[in-house]
Symmetry: C2
Subunit: 444 residues, 2 copies
Amino acid sequence: MFKHLLKPARTGAVFLLSCLAASVACAADKTTYPDAAASDPKTMGWMVGAPPPPDRIVRFADGSYFKFPAMRWSVSNFRQLMPTTNVSRGLGAPVPLARALRSDIDQLTFVPLGSKQSMTWEQSLAANYTDGIVVLHRGQVVYERYFGVLDPQGQHGAMSVTKSVVGTMGAMLVAEGTLDANKKVADYVPELASSAFGNATLRQVLDMTTGLKYSEDYADPNAEVWQHSAAGSPLPKPKDYTGPRTYMEYLLTVKPLGEHGEAFAYKTVNTDVLGWVIARVTGRNVAQLLSERIWQRIGAEQDAYFTVDSIGTPFAGGGLNTGLRDLARFGEMIRNDGQYLGQQIVPKAVVDDIRAGGDKAAFAKGGYDLLKGGSYRNMWWVTHNQDGAFMARGVYGQRIYIDPKAEMVIVRYASNPVASNAANDPVTIPAFEALARQLIAHPQ
Amino acid sequence: MFKHLLKPARTGAVFLLSCLAASVACAADKTTYPDAAASDPKTMGWMVGAPPPPDRIVRFADGSYFKFPAMRWSVSNFRQLMPTTNVSRGLGAPVPLARALRSDIDQLTFVPLGSKQSMTWEQSLAANYTDGIVVLHRGQVVYERYFGVLDPQGQHGAMSVTKSVVGTMGAMLVAEGTLDANKKVADYVPELASSAFGNATLRQVLDMTTGLKYSEDYADPNAEVWQHSAAGSPLPKPKDYTGPRTYMEYLLTVKPLGEHGEAFAYKTVNTDVLGWVIARVTGRNVAQLLSERIWQRIGAEQDAYFTVDSIGTPFAGGGLNTGLRDLARFGEMIRNDGQYLGQQIVPKAVVDDIRAGGDKAAFAKGGYDLLKGGSYRNMWWVTHNQDGAFMARGVYGQRIYIDPKAEMVIVRYASNPVASNAANDPVTIPAFEALARQLIAHPQ
């Protein structure tokens, strides 16, 4: 996520923290925000007109772009707000996704967690402030909807879904022998030796079991997330600024807290460190490597992009933006053991490793009440549910949800005012599971 | 061009002015700069490494990105330096350009203007600091070369070539009756009534015969170009800044100087005004309109993009960036009377109007010694040479050169240290004409 942007939305941030403490309550608490229709960014007319009306201008420098509801426009337009680097799809013809749209999905019903009243699938879209959603079943598009300012030609911020994409690349390099997961971070990036990362293994970084003094508590003005954010901002630093000036400089300053390998602790900086390791060993930053190794091989119909800091470092922890269908292609490739369009794009061993999951005991210490029994592996969230589903999760409800048993991939871009999946999980989890049951029962 | 960037390159800017006064001498004067090989941005290793070495970092905020030789990297990487907006090619399959490469081009010889020694075509590429060049003959690629950090998947700043693209769209709207070229700018954008543009006709804007107090003299710290530049910068304004804050706000402040319609005076702000008129009447900014009307219809293999100001206004006067082959597709479409891939994309009347050219007497007052007998129409430069060639020209040697008689389109991206076509015209003009002669004599 773009942390330097969240600061102005302090109200939402405070709310987020109470959500994390008591996840189920969050869905109900959302009544303090305008609903999806009232906050629809197209209806609101952000950045429309020459010039747009003053109260409909979204700016980067003043932080207005990250305040809800303007944020709903921003997440589909990050490149208009900050510098970015391209993830080329190559120059060939895209490979269209097969389509077999189903009419039995919108009326599916389920009961949100913590609720007694059932909801339809279609109602869930607005409840989750969905910007776009695509469902693949056996590789075919069975459902596709767009809202607000997102359309099939648009690109949306994947936010922390980025971590799973970067984690996949890290695991690829491990499977191929370019990286050794048992080696220490400092073995690859010696500059990090005196930081908290220096004596962490790559495995601990990939599974986020590092012990780091790094708080993403947005309500705390002294939380490390603000220093990380300031360092990574592409804007010029204030004259009296003495802190780190890039993502990499920030990572050098991260201090240890606790032991590595003990507990799952979800911290964005792990992915930034992985990005650095990847860049050092491959000579490619994560945007370049994603293009070469994946985006050019999945028949993508659009280039993707990463936001960058002031020296062009892609934000590995949250800077990826993609077309929704291309994210679906990526998810389908993962579902198919890394195979797609007749090529082995990601080694099967990587996908097997993700499916098998990480350390459940370590994960349990992370406090994700709605994901009990789950684990975290190679920067993917593994449910260990009856279908063996696993997923990538972004802060405003972005998701890649892969249900192997149902042969289903759901990709969703969203702009929920509450910056936590805890806000949408009570609706999302049972909705996605209900759809899986429907596809298994009625594969058509 | 990105004027807010040129300020640090004062030496080059002063040089430019002497070039304009005595155009032919410029080619010789270039010896004060490292040559193409010595300044090759790939060899120099700009922005390579994690992190790049301090002396190889290119930054936006400090203006370093526009100093030669770093500028040679920047022109292929503008989106990494500043916010941009997409020009979607759509989602379908690109239409490959037919290829029939010729081996007789590199050894073609010609005599540069003002020189007594002949030069080969291949030598001309380095002399002009070429980053990429594609030649189409009868629609087939007969020649294609890339240098430095540009490759077929890259996107390069078109700089003032942008003006011809935007001018084409303006002329399209005139041909279709959406705009009346005889109407005043203020008829479309009433806010401009009290500016110099208010009582100018659209025709005068399209042909740059407006009388404006607007100097692009980069050596003069009081030149209006700096105010334009400061207004359009996407960076936050200094606290004590009281001037215009966007491209549009700047246009409101432009004062008249002389009479409209008297003389050709090449001033970037005319294109920005045209962009504003286009946005007002179509409800689409120039990036959106370019996508809908042209980029989605020419079989483009890449999205293009525009740089934007702090409120998302595309820089109509110079902000377009494209893949080189896509620029070739655009040029070929124009050469074919606006027809391409079986569709009439630009009305034939528009291309006829460009070919016929503008007011030669007005043009002669513009002082372009190397383009004697030429004219300017719909933001295209018309040579009125024996082949009826016309062209789009960008500040560092970017060019679309259309030779109807030779059935030839040349598109070139370049990064000449001298910010004026006067520096490369002595080589470019005879080189392109020699190639035209060759293609006519030996069409193969």
